[in-house]
Assembly symmetry: C2
Homo-oligomer: 367 residues x 2
C-alpha cells in the first residue's frame, strides 16, 4: 500500500511496547479488533502497520506506524484524524513527526506566498523582517490605529492585531480594520515603505467570509489566523481563497501532545500558512532552543513543492535579544516584539525605530 | 466588570504561585505588561483578575481567574481563545472549568434537539439508547450499507459512521450516504422502528456544506462531527444551520490540556452537540470512572436554557458491561458498542439483538 510514515513517542515498558504499538496501529486505522476484519483489502491495504519500535534515551519508545495514504482522503482534517484523532485521548502517546509521500504532499498547495512572496510584497530583502502587535485589547479603533500608524512610521514591516482582538464591542472588526489600515497606508505614503497591517480573523465560516471581504475592501495586506481555534480544514480553505499572505498564530495549539515543530512548523505550512508565530525560547513559554530551531526547519527547509513559511519567534521578546535571535535563526525570519515596544510609553516611536534599525544592521551579515 | 470565572490547575510552588497566577491573568487578557497599559478602561474592565488561589491535594494549585465577558465577543472561538489560547502553550497550566454568567450563556443556543428531541425522533422512551459504528474503513458503500441494514433490523437506535470514515475513494461520501441511508430506511419499513443513520462529516466549510446538502437530500436523521478537527466555531455554525441532531466525536480532543468533562461535556454542549461520544472508563482510554461521571453531568445536568446533551460512553465496550454502565449512567445515556458487535462475525445480527434487548430490559428500572 501507498503509505505515510508517522512517528509517535509511547510511554510504555519494554515488556508492553510491542502490544501497545500494535494496538496503536489498530486505533489509528480501523479502530476494531483485527480478528473481526473480514475483508482482505482492509487487512492488506488499510490496517496500519508497525514499521519500527526503538527505545528513547529518556525512556519510552519511538514507534513508527505506516498508515495507508487512501485513509486520509487527501484532506487536512482527515489527515489530522488519522495522525492523532483517537490517540490524542490516550495520554501515553505523543505525535512527533510525519513523512508524506509525494502523491499526498502534492494534494496540498501549501503557502501561496511563502518567504519570497512576503519579501516581495513588503519590499524587504537581504535582512530579517520585523513585526509587532496592536494591544491591549479593550482599546477603541482610534487608539489601535494611532499605534499602528506610529509602528508603520517607525519602519515595522508587519503590524498585526493581538491575537486576543476579535470582534468585540470595544473594537468591532469593520471599524477597527478600516481605521488601522488607513493609518498604515497614510504612514506608508509618508515613508515610501510598504508596511502591512494584519487583522486577526475569528468566528465560524460565515463570519470569516465577511471579515475577509471587509479586509479585501479595505485593502489590507496580510491576515492573522489561529488554525487550531478555527480548525485546520477551515484554515486551509480560507488560505486557498484569499489573495494576501496569512500568518498563523499558535493559540490553542497545546504544548505537549503534538510535537510543536510538527504542528506549528510542518503542518501549519502544509495548510498554507505564509508565516508562523511560535513561542521563542527564553520568553514566557517553555519551548527549548532546540525545539525552536527544529520548528523553523519545519517551516522553511525545502520540502517538495511547498513554498517556505516564514518563522516568527515571539512571546516576551525585546530589542536587546535581536542579535542573539538573528544569529540563531538567520535572516529568513520575522522577529515579533509586542509588549516590550509598548512598554516604552512616550518613547514608542523611538523604541520601534531602534528595533527596526537593529534588525536592518544585521541584514547583510546574517546567515 | 461583567465576568466569567475560569478555573485552572497550575503546577507551581507555593513560593511562585502568586506571581504565576498574576502572569496567567495578563497572558489570558491583555498579553502585555500591566505597567505598559495607559487606558483606565483596559486596566479596570479588561485585565483579568486572580479571584482565588487554593492548594490542590495532589500538589499544585487551583487558580480562579475572572475574565471580562466583553473580551469573548460572545463567539465560541474567541471564548476558547480567552480561556486557553496562549496558556495552552505553557505546560504548567490545565484548563479545568468555566462558569458563564447568564448574559454570555444566553448568546449560545446550545443543542437544538437535546435528549428529549433525540428520544422523540427515535421514538425511544423510558430506556437508554443504543448506538453502533459502521467499520472498518476500507469497505465499499455496499458492505457498509449491508452492516447498517443488519444493525437497523436488530433494533439499534443510531448507526453512525466510524469517525475515520470521511470522503475516501473506497467509500465516497455521496455514494456511501445514499447506500447506508437506504439500507436503514428499508430496515425501518420492515421493523416499524425509527433507527437513524449518522454519517461522519469532514473537510472545510465548502465540503461540509456539500455533505450537509447530500445528507439532507438523502433524508438522513442525524450527523456525526468532530468539533476539535473542524474547529469549534465551524462546528457551532454547522449545528445552527442543519435540521437534524448532531453527535459530537472527541477526536483530536486531547491535543490541549483541557479537562475532558469541560471540553467534551460542557463546551461541546455549549456549541450545540445533541449527543457527545466520550471514552468510557475501563476501555482503551485512560479516563477514570469519576471523570466519566463528571463528563455526563456537564453534558446533561440543568444549565440555564441549554437543552440536555446525550452522553455516549464508548471505546472498547461490550454487551456484558451494559448493566454496569446503565447502573452508573442511568437511562438518559446512549451506549455505543462497535467492534464487539462486529467481532460476532456471522452472529452479528444476534449479538446486536442481544445488545438491544439488554438495554431495553434495563429500561424501566434504571435511574
Amino acid at each position: 500500500m501507498d503509505c505515510l510514515t508517522v512517528l509517535y513517542h509511547l510511554a510504555a515498558s519494554p515488556a508492553d511496547v510491542a502490544a501497545r504499538a500494535a494496538a496503536l496501529a489498530l486505533e489509528q486505522s480501523i479502530e476494531m479488533p483485527l480478528a473481526a476484519v473480514r475483508s482482505d483489502y482492509v487487512r492488506e491495504e488499510i490496517v496500519a502497520r508497525v514499521a519500527d519500535v526503538a527505545p528513547l534515551p529518556a525512556g519510552g519508545f519511538r514507534v513508527a506506524l505506516e498508515l495507508a495514504v487512501e485513509t486520509t482522503g487527501s484532506e487536512i482534517g482527515q489527515l489530522m484524524n488519522m495522525l492523532f484523532g483517537n490517540c490524542s485521548l490516550q495520554d501515553d502517546v505523543q505525535l512527533v513527526d510525519v513523512a508524506l509521500p509525494p502523491a499526498l504532499l502534492g494534494a496540498f498547495p501549501g503557502p501561496r506566498f511563502g518567504i519570497a512572496g512576503l519579501r516581495e510584497r513588503l519590499d524587504a530583502h537581504g535582512r530579517a523582517l520585523t513585526c509587532t502587535a496592536l494591544k491591549p485589547q479593550g482599546l477603541p479603533p482610534s487608539e489601535l490605529a494611532a499605534l499602528a500608524g506610529t509602528f508603520a512610521r517607525a519602519g515595522l514591516d508587519v503590524i498585526k492585531d493581538d491575537h486576543g482582538i476579535a470582534n468585540q464591542r470595544y473594537a468591532p472588526f469593520a471599524a477597527r480594520v478600516a481605521a488601522c489600515q488607513r493609518a498604515v497606508a497614510a504612514a506608508n505614503r509618508e515613508t515610501g515603505r510598504r508596511a502591512v497591517y494584519a487583522p486577526s480573523l475569528s468566528g465560524g465560516p460565515r463570519q470569516l467570509a465577511e471579515q475577509v471581504r471587509i479586509a479585501r475592501d479595505e485593502g489590507v495586506g496580510a491576515l492573522l489566523a489561529a488554525p487550531m481555534v478555527m480548525g485546520l480544514p477551515t484554515f486551509a480553505e480560507l488560505v486557498a481563497a484569499i489573495e494576501v499572505p496569512v500568518i498563523a498564530h499558535p493559540a490553542l495549539g497545546g504544548v505537549s501532545r503534538i510535537h510543536p515543530p510538527l504542528l506549528c512548523g510542518r503542518l501549519f505550512r502544509l495548510c498554507g500558512a505564509d508565516a508562523t508565530i511560535f513561542p521563542n525560547y527564553g520568553g514566557r513559554f517553555s519551548y527549548s532552543r532546540e525545539l525552536c530551531v527544529e520548528l523553523t526547519d519545519g517551516a522553511r527547509a525545502p520540502h517538495g513543492h511547498l513554498r517556505a513559511c516564514l518563522p516568527v519567534p515571539a512571546g516576551g521578546m525585546n530589542v536587546a535579544r535581536v542579535p542573539e535571535m538573528l544569529a540563531l535563526y538567520g535572516r529568513d525570519t520575522m522577529l515579533l516584539i509586542g509588549g516590550a515596544l509598548l512598554s516604552a510609553g512616550d518613547e514608542l516611536f523611538e523604541r520601534s525605530r531602534e528595533f527596526v534599525a537593529t534588525v536592518a544592521a544585521h541584514g547583510p551579515s546574517a546567515t
